[in-house]
């Protein structure tokens, strides 16, 4: 779940991180008023969740409150990547001497968060890491133990930074890590983190993403920020297909059958279970298949949910067949899944043996599931069929039958 920049900066401010004087304006008149209070040149920033604001004309400068009003009007009327701005952030323009980068993300391979720091800010950190790896410092840390200034100082000092810069950057990085942990963030990024002419530092732009599953832990915070429960807060708005997927998942509280993301392929996927979805999606692509969607199903969804998800995927234009595949760690009951999917196919007006290219669900009640699949003539595999092999057979059957 992504925060708008002004919301993210509210969180940074609560953690004591240094920010420019600013205000969030919903109208040009408010922007004029805020610019008048700031006094001096201001930066006006479109509040959209999409990137590429500068290139699209969503970030502008104004030397007077009247100019701020005009520019805010232009920004509010400008859609960026299909998104209408929610408001305009009006900030004091800062006299920047040097730009840095500070970020915290999860390192999935190390299974720990990692603090990343660079003395080359203002550009994509991926680009810096590729072209100037000597300007990027990293340090993994524990989510269980308190993060200390000492750890942050080591990261900054590893790039040869000393003296006043080191002293001032250290608490900023420490507070960023604490913010990351306190709010269950998956990304906390300040870029650029600027050193001003007077030696002070300011967080000029930031990007915070909260773990979707952590929203219920932070209901009070989200209420304070005005984030509604219905807001998905993704980089692009959900498609009608994806909205319907969320509705299927909300049918009851049993298991998961949703989190659907659509692609333009012809093979519908009913996949899931603890990382299995992405692995299987990749395996299907590796074998030349064209996935029509990504989804997550598992945790013993009701037959009704599995049925509705199946119907939804089959209703997507371009979907010719579906493959049902899950990871062995799911422990989802095979017979319940088989009932749901077969019912969905039949209710959509098809024969299961014609529409299901391959059915791999290792899990509990495998024998019972196999009986159901045999009854309907569906080709299936249990845990003895690897995920890669299941994906291969799904793609071969898709093309061959």
């Amino acid at each position: 779940m992504r925060f708008y920049e002004h919301e993210a900066k509210t969180l940074l401010g609560r953690q004591g991180l240094p920010l420019p004087k600013s205000g969030n304006a919903k109208t040009p008149e408010e922007a004029e008023q805020i610019a008048g209070q700031i006094a001096g040149t201001v930066v006006l920033k479109s509040q959209v969740l999409s990137g590429g604001r500068m290139k699209a004309g969503g970030i502008r400068f104004a030397g007077s409150p009247q100019e701020a009003r005009r520019e805010a009007g232009a920004i509010l009327a400008l859609a960026i990547n299909g998104q209408r701005p929610r408001s305009v952030l009006v900030e004091a323009k800062a006299p920047v001497r040097k730009e840095f980068y500070a970020g915290v993300i999860y390192d999935a391979l190390a299974k720990r968060p990692v603090l990343i720091f660079s003395d080359m800010g203002g550009i994509d950190i991926e680009q810096v890491a590729e072209q100037h790896p000597e300007h990027v410092a990293r340090a993994h840390f524990s989510v269980l133990e308190p993060f200390s200034d000492y750890q942050a100082k080591n990261v900054v000092a590893s790039l040869g930074i000393t003296g006043n810069q080191l002293s001032r950057l250290t608490p900023i990085l420490t507070r960023l890590v604490r913010l990351f942990l306190q709010y269950n963030l998956t990304l906390a990024e300040i870029n650029p983190l600027c050193e001003l002419e007077d030696g002070n530092f300011l967080c000029l732009d930031c990007h915070l993403d909260m773990e979707e599953e952590a929203r219920d832990r932070h209901t009070r915070l989200l209420q304070e920020l005005g984030v509604g429960r219905e807001e998905t807060r993704q980089a692009r708005p959900p498609t009608p297909f994806e909205i319907r997927g969320a509705q299927v998942d909300a049918l009851d509280n049993k298991g998961v059958a949703g989190h659907v993301i659509e692609f333009d392929g012809d093979l519908g996927l009913i996949i899931g279970a603890g990382g299995g979805s992405l692995t299987l999606l990749d395996a299907v692509r590796k074998h030349g298949g064209r996935p029509a969607n990504y989804c997550e199903i598992g945790g013993n969804p009701s037959v009704r949910k599995a049925c509705e998800l199946t119907k939804l995927i089959l209703s997507k234009p371009g979907v010719e067949k579906i493959a049902v595949m899950m990871n062995v760690v799911s422990n989802t009951r095979v017979d319940i899944m088989a009932r749901g999917v077969i019912k969905g196919v039949i209710e959509a007006g098809y024969q299961p043996k014609d529409k299901i290219t391959f059915f791999r669900i290792p899990g509990s009640w495998e024998d019972e599931g196999a009986r159901i699949l045999r009854k309907y003539g569906v080709e299936y595999g249990d845990r003895s069929v690897s995920m890669d092999e299941a994906a291969r057979r799904a793609v071969v059957n898709m093309r061959g039958r």
């Binding site: 009701s302 037959v303 009951r333 319940i336 009932r339 077969i342 019912k343 039949i346 159901i372 009854k375």
Partner: protein, 74 residues
């Protein structure tokens, strides 16, 4: 219409309010409900949700509740 599961309850059980209530309580997927007169009603829409836990069979006198897996029939 259920495709996978059929549940049959002996009329002598279905008429008894105490057993009907017990069936409503034990079924984890709401296959049973009670009519206004407290007799038993089977919720057809929920039959395929049956998880084959057999709690309904255990809740009633032997042989009075029968679960049939329709997919095992020829």
């Amino acid at each position: 219409m259920p495709m996978f599961i059929r549940v049959e309850v002996d009329p002598s059980v279905a008429r008894r309010a105490d057993l009907a209530k017990k069936l409503v309580e034990v079924c984890p997927v709401d296959i049973f409900a009670q009519n206004a007169d407290q007799s038993l009603r089977i919720v057809e829409d929920n039959l395929d949700e049956c998880v084959l836990c057999d709690l309904c069979i255990q809740a009633c006198p032997a042989g009075t509740v029968k679960i049939t897996k329709l997919y095992e029939q020829a």
